[in-house]
Amino acid sequence: MAGGQQTTSLRTYALTRLGLALPMVLILLTMVFLLLRVAPGDPITAALGGRLPPEQLEERREAAGYNRSLAVQYLEYLGNVATLDFGETIVDNRPVTRVITQNGAATLELTVVALFVALVVGIGVGLVSGRYRDTPVDVAGRLFGILIYAAPVFFLGFLAQLVFAQWLGWFPTSGRASPVTSYDLDTPTNLFLVDSLIALDFSAFSDVLSHLVLPAVTLGLVTGGVFIRLIRVNVLQTLQGDYIEAARARGLSERTVMWHHAFRNALVPVITVVGLQVALLLGGAVLTEQTFNWPGIGSELIRYLNNRDYIAIQGIITFFALVVVIVSLLIDLLNAWVDPRVRY
């Protein structure tokens, strides 16, 4: 009985949540369209105006369909997005989907490792800080969190390059792999770590890893600063719970109280926070990629912005919007599955 009821309510929740996600996608897509298609005029003139004679511009506009009414173009845009067609860039005639699979993989690799670093640092420091509230350890932990949060990712990247690359010479500062590796390595997934493992090429693996260390740790530390703060507050709130007092009253050792009662509950909300961090992580990735010359989707976005390629910008931004909505949807569903209170 109980099991049946649970699955029903989880399904109901999932459907409701999905019902919320769809209008959100529609709003974001409409905003992207209004900002990038309606506001600036047509993309062909924006990118190539002055470089092509007017007749040729007119021809390209006609061919690309920019002479039709905006309503038609809007519907076409929505239809294209629904079939995962994000258009083709103007300056180098690349389908945006290829930008996503090639450069997006570099960004994915960077952000996943960075998220891992962020969780390790954030949970570690946050738990200790919350447990020993207002002691010097806590003050140090909080200060670390605040300083890390206050440091722009590109400043940390600058320091990392200076110390670990220039002075100590431990890690390279730019790119995903040395030229030899990128020439030799087969890249079916475009995730170089995975590709080098598939090829069982361990020298390539270590080369790729050494390129990844500085950017991922830099981005991870900045993201971890937010975790520290949240986990600390969670621990503080959890420690005020009646069941903690009850556990202590039962004579359980402080260690058991902390690990089995306090920390476990303090960590549940982390799932939600990870979901919220994805937006921050993507923004940070753009900066990290610029700092370390990482050929990710953020670097590409900046390149297309500089070239005023509105179609590429629109495609990449649309993709980001979809990623954000889908990730937050998945996180909410995961949360509902873990924590039954969310569903009601």
Binding site: P40, F158, I302, I313
Partner: protein
């Protein structure tokens, strides 16, 4: 109106003890120092932010090591790093103040109206704002700065507007939620029962209550806004480099210096950002700790009970 809210603000700071108090004081000290830099930059800085030669026309050294003439050294454009750091405070302050004002002017009324009237308007606004909020804020700011730079140029205005687009949803959200919880309070109901118009209820009863949250949010957002401004500058969508000194732009130029072991061009602007953001964050967090009754820890004071003077008759009876 100003008086009671000021005592409400400063009273708890005086009352606070221990760590929270020092946090607020450190935050105030750092913030004031940067405001002084910003206001008096021309008198404090040894050179103008874009001066690259002496009055006699001798060019400053390019990427010169810190020395007596240039305490923080010079950068790749031969300008004085110390002067740029000091003038950077001015740019940061201008942009952040404008951005906070813009976000408040848009976010606060929207939140008030949305929370007070509820209904369809509230649901639509909430959905739009949530969508904006969910989107990576930096990307939003970049796109807006990119689009605005065509029309407004790349000045303080463009930067401030791009940054406020990011923060409007936050103000909206906080204000709206607060209004919804306050709306049901008895004193608001009483005002409504007395026949007060919605405008009166909102401005006299609800706004007064909601506005207390603003100092904390505004300080924390200002800290964040400085990071966003620097990020825009770093990516080349901040303020036109010939118009003003900006720390993020300086760091962008400094990245390639790191490979040559030149540390002073990036270290000092970076420190300026970290210090100012830390100062504002400490101030905001401290204010929150001090003002928020849920988090506030009052000093424990020994209570001296008056001595019992007469026994009650019930005690006398014994049983």
């Amino acid at each position: 109106m100003a008086r009671p809210s000021l005592t409400r603000l400063f009273g708890p700071i005086r009352e606070a003890r221990g760590v929270p108090k020092w946090v607020v004081i450190a935050g105030i000290a750092i913030t004031i120092a940067f405001v002084v830099f910003a206001l008096f930059a021309p008198w404090i800085a040894p050179y103008d932010f874009d001066t690259y030669r002496t009055a006699d026309g001798v060019r400053f050294p390019k990427q010169g090591h810190p020395s007596g003439d240039h305490l923080f050294g010079t950068n790749v454009q031969s300008t004085d790093v110390l002067s740029r750091v000091i003038y950077g405070a001015r740019t940061a302050l201008e942009v952040v103040i404008l951005a906070v004002i813009f976000s408040l002017v848009v976010g606060l009324p929207l939140g008030l109206i949305s929370g007070y009237f509820g209904g369809k308007l509230d649901r639509v606004l909430l959905l739009v704002m949530d969508s904006l909020f969910a989107f990576p804020y930096l990307l939003l700011a970049i796109v807006v700065a990119f689009l605005l730079s065509d029309r407004l140029g790349r000045g303080v205005m463009t930067a401030a507007v791009s940054i406020s687009v990011v923060y409007v949803p936050q103000y909206y959200r906080v204000v709206r939620n607060h209004v919804i919880s306050v709306r049901e309070e008895t004193y608001v109901e009483a005002a409504r029962a007395l026949g007060a118009r919605p405008r009166t209820v909102i401005s006299r009863y609800i706004l007064q209550n909601v506005i207390q949250n603003v100092p904390v949010i505004a300080t924390l957002n200002a800290a964040d806004a400085i990071l966003t401004l620097a990020a825009l500058g770093f990516l080349g969508y901040g303020i036109q480099p010939t118009d003003a000194a900006e720390w993020g732009y300086d760091l962008q130029r400094a990245i390639s210096d790191a490979g040559a072991g030149i540390w002073w061009t990036g270290l000092f602007p970076g420190f300026a950002i970290v210090t100012l953001v830390t100062g504002l964050t400490l101030l905001g967090e401290g204010l929150n700790d001090v003002l928020n009754p849920v988090l506030r820890r009052r000093p424990i004071q020994a209570v001296i009970l008056p001595e019992r003077q007469s026994r009650l008759p019930a005690d006398e009876a014994g049983v």
